[in-house]
Amino acid sequence: MNSLLALLIVPITGSAVAAILHRYRFVERLITFLTFCGTFLFLFGIKVGDIFTWHLDFLGKNVEMGLQITPLSIFMLYMTIAFGIVLTFYNLSERSKMKGFLLLLTLTASNWIFMSTDLISFFFAWELMGWSSILMIFGGKHEEKSRHGALYYAMMSIGGSYSMLIGIFLLSNLTGTFSIQSNVSYLMSIMSVHPWWVLGMVSLFFVAFMVKSGIFPFHTWVPYTYGEAPDGFVPYLSSVMSKYGVYGFLIFLPLTLNEHVPSVFGLAWPNYVLLWFGSVTAVVGSVLAFMQDDVKKLFAYSSFSNLGFILAAISLFTPIGLTAGLFHAFNHLLFNGAIFITVIAVISKVGTTRMSEMGGIWQKMPLTFLTFFIGIAAAAGIPPFAGFGSKWMIFQAMISHGLIFATVLLFFASIASFLYLMRAFHAIFLGQLSHKYDNLKEVSMIGKITEVFLLGALIFFGILPGFILDPIDSIVSAFGLKPLPTSGYEYINGFFSSINMVSIFIVVIIAFIFGFALFAVVAKHKKVPQEDNYTAGQIPQDWNLTPEMYQFGYDFYEPMDKELAPFLKVKIDGFFKGFGESVKYIGGAVKEIFTGNVQIYTYLAVGGLVIFVIAGWVVW
């Protein structure tokens, strides 16, 4: 069987089987995991340039549909399916509410999105992915709230899809074909003549992609939905599904390579607008994140803030910008996945998502703590872990183009990310351990294997980033740009300088060895329990001081709230709520017509007939 078709058929059959065996939870999860593994095996059989086409007779037109493998699609496929394997493996251990058959439907749709060459199948796959994920969000912990989250996501996702549908049909009406390639080249050719029209057309598509990636101002669904979705699904939602938007952006960004597009500050001005969207998203996400108390919402804000970084980088559409953005997409998948998996492990043991009720978990779950620590070190962009290279390249890209405001905003977003990561780190894992968690146990063996694997991956791809930079170079060449030079696997070559990650790693290890040697040689220490703490001389028992009282987990950055209050007056969420209210009002007014009173209907019918006769639309 053709390998490209196999990538679609295998998940669909797996989904059908899983749906039939839905009653037996563990079997369903096992089938999900095995299907992901099987799909991954089929990935080895495909290579760049494979094509598979078929014809469809549609409304008298002969539509050619097809699947094709480009360097970008193979990169995305490997990334998403590999992460899916890790996630479904982790879910084998949990009593998770994730419906495996829906996840497999999403996988089918995801593979189709990355491979399709025509807009009809792209849209079909996009809708399939949207609907299966909406259905999956319904299964959250609190029935009412997860329904609200799912509907919020559904409305925005469907809104985006409909705008894309309008764009598809308008475009194909002009060009006469549904093929993505020819549509994009058509837009490129008329860009110099009708720039506004082309931009309007592309914006229709971009709304869908912005919704999916959570770019400002369509980011409001992300915290609601991540907070209420079933825990087993949230890592997939945040790591993998946000990348569909990135793929979509990359389909249309080649338009701006045209020299006739007017430029602003050295960039084509559509790119400049996208750059601002990306930077503002990064800042908004980071700033709102460090004010959260709910841990899933905090990392939801973190997730789309990183998507803002990715969009800002790829919007430059230069070799370094593209490489930085795609590299950050991969790193985001990795560290976000590690963070979310450890967080849901803790939530499942602790039973609450509010960080102010946790604390000191490091003593009970040491491996989870270590994985989370490396995860946030990678998310903060600390060498030699995975996230450093991409952040470094993004800054180099911004500086080389002379984009001062974007650099300052993105740097601020990066520092603010440090803030919210430390908040989560302290409130969950560090500090005083409450006595109600005395019986907390570490995750099961399956969870441990997942965490060790993620830990290793974060370190491995930090030290040897060449494994990822090589495929990205072929993607950049496929777009017609000259790729950045690559040296060995351990080098990251930026614009202004290049660094050897292995030597940094070795230097850090030697410094640590020296530190531990110093630690062992000097005067010995005494281990004391957490109750033996500096309490300004007061005896804790006299004041009934419990660990919960002594843990500073609530309102961690309260002084910043005062400083940032003026900026938070504008509420995008309020805008959408207001929009929804007006639609409800108009709908209510229209509903008034249907009073159910037969007399009113008769008056309306007669009046309408008279008007139509007068206007000449009906010949009497």
Binding site: F373, S400, G402
Partner: protein, 307 residues
């Protein structure tokens, strides 16, 4: 042969680490003396910080678990690692990796490790101290980013060694003459980075019982002192390399670092401590404005490097 080269580099690395630590401690001692003289008293001897460090390593201490230990070792080890990439006078241990942004992010690893260690002690004073330290960092890193931008674009390179090399040939070639506003911005940011008044909210001995250091005693406090001293050397060293033209030998380099530190101490002696939100928002006003103005000037003068 590779083994011998590696051992030579290792020995040189230890030498540089020892130099950085000794210089940092010496600067600390001289700083205390200067502060005392400003306050019209005698002050401790110059070598007081060395004596303090020795005493701390001989004193007993308490530990709150392996996260505490690991965190505090991780508090100073990355600082020592970062110096290996810094051009010190004519000598750089690993010149091919002396990227400025990389050194800044490696400093953050020290920060993260120290944060983990002190927060694992379970004392809310340390948590308040760390939250303030992080909020302050969100303040001073922003003008510093604008300055990094200006220097990168002006020098058209990211290697500190090459930035230093471009400033050779006399006083008029130094970046402080070519980018004075940037120097002003980074001087103010340096005050925040070193945690000296008016930006020492993180330590604040009288308010939050010395903040992160509340449960540190003995060798852990010694590690904190090492982190502070080596950080002092590193941060003043970065500013010397960026704006004061590096140096042809070690003594002149240390002398230039001391000039910077002298200005920091003078400001520290006079000013009181700001409130934390005032401190953060101060950095977003004047220093950031200076940094952005400098960046715009650099862009207008030199153009950008579209690739």
């Amino acid at each position: 042969m590779v083994i011998v080269e590696f051992l030579i580099k290792l020995a040189q690395g230890f030498g540089i680490g020892a130099l950085a630590l000794a210089t940092g401690l010496l600067f600390g001692g001289i700083g205390r003396k200067i502060m005392a003289r400003i306050q019209r008293r005698y002050g401790p001897p110059f070598t007081q910080n060395f004596i303090d460090l020795f005493k701390l390593f001989s004193k007993g201490s308490v530990s709150h678990g392996w996260a505490f230990d690991l965190g505090l070792v991780a508090g100073f080890a990355p600082m020592l690692a970062a110096i290996m990439f810094l051009p010190i006078g004519p000598f750089t241990l690993l010149p091919s990796d002396s990227s400025l942004i990389m050194i800044v992010y490696l400093m953050m690893m020290a920060y993260l490790g120290m944060a983990m260690g002190v927060l694992a002690s379970g004392n809310p004073n340390s948590a308040i101290g760390m939250s303030r330290a992080l909020m302050l960092m969100a303040g001073y890193e922003v003008p510093f980013a604008a300055v990094i931008f200006s220097v990168y674009l002006f020098s058209k390179t990211g290697y500190l060694t090459q930035i230093v090399a471009q400033q050779s040939g006399g006083f008029m070639n130094w970046n402080i003459v070519k980018m004075p506003l940037g120097f002003l911005a980074v001087e103010i940011a340096l005050q925040g980075m070193l945690g000296e008044k008016p930006f020492d909210q993180a330590i604040a001995p009288a308010e939050i019982a010395s903040g992160p250091m509340v449960e540190l005693g003995g060798k852990y406090l010694g590690f904190g002192m090492i982190q502070h001293s080596v950080g002092l050397f590193l941060e003043t060293g970065i500013v010397v390399d960026l704006f004061l033209g590096g140096a042809p030998n070690f003594w002149i380099f240390i002398a230039k670092q001391f000039v910077l530190y002298f200005v920091v101490i003078l400001v520290d002696a006079i000013l009181p401590r700001l409130r934390i939100h005032e401190a953060t928002s101060f950095f977003w006003k004047l220093p950031l404005f200076l940094g952005i103005l400098q960046a715009v000037i650099v862009i207008i003068q030199g153009g950008v490097l579209n690739v």
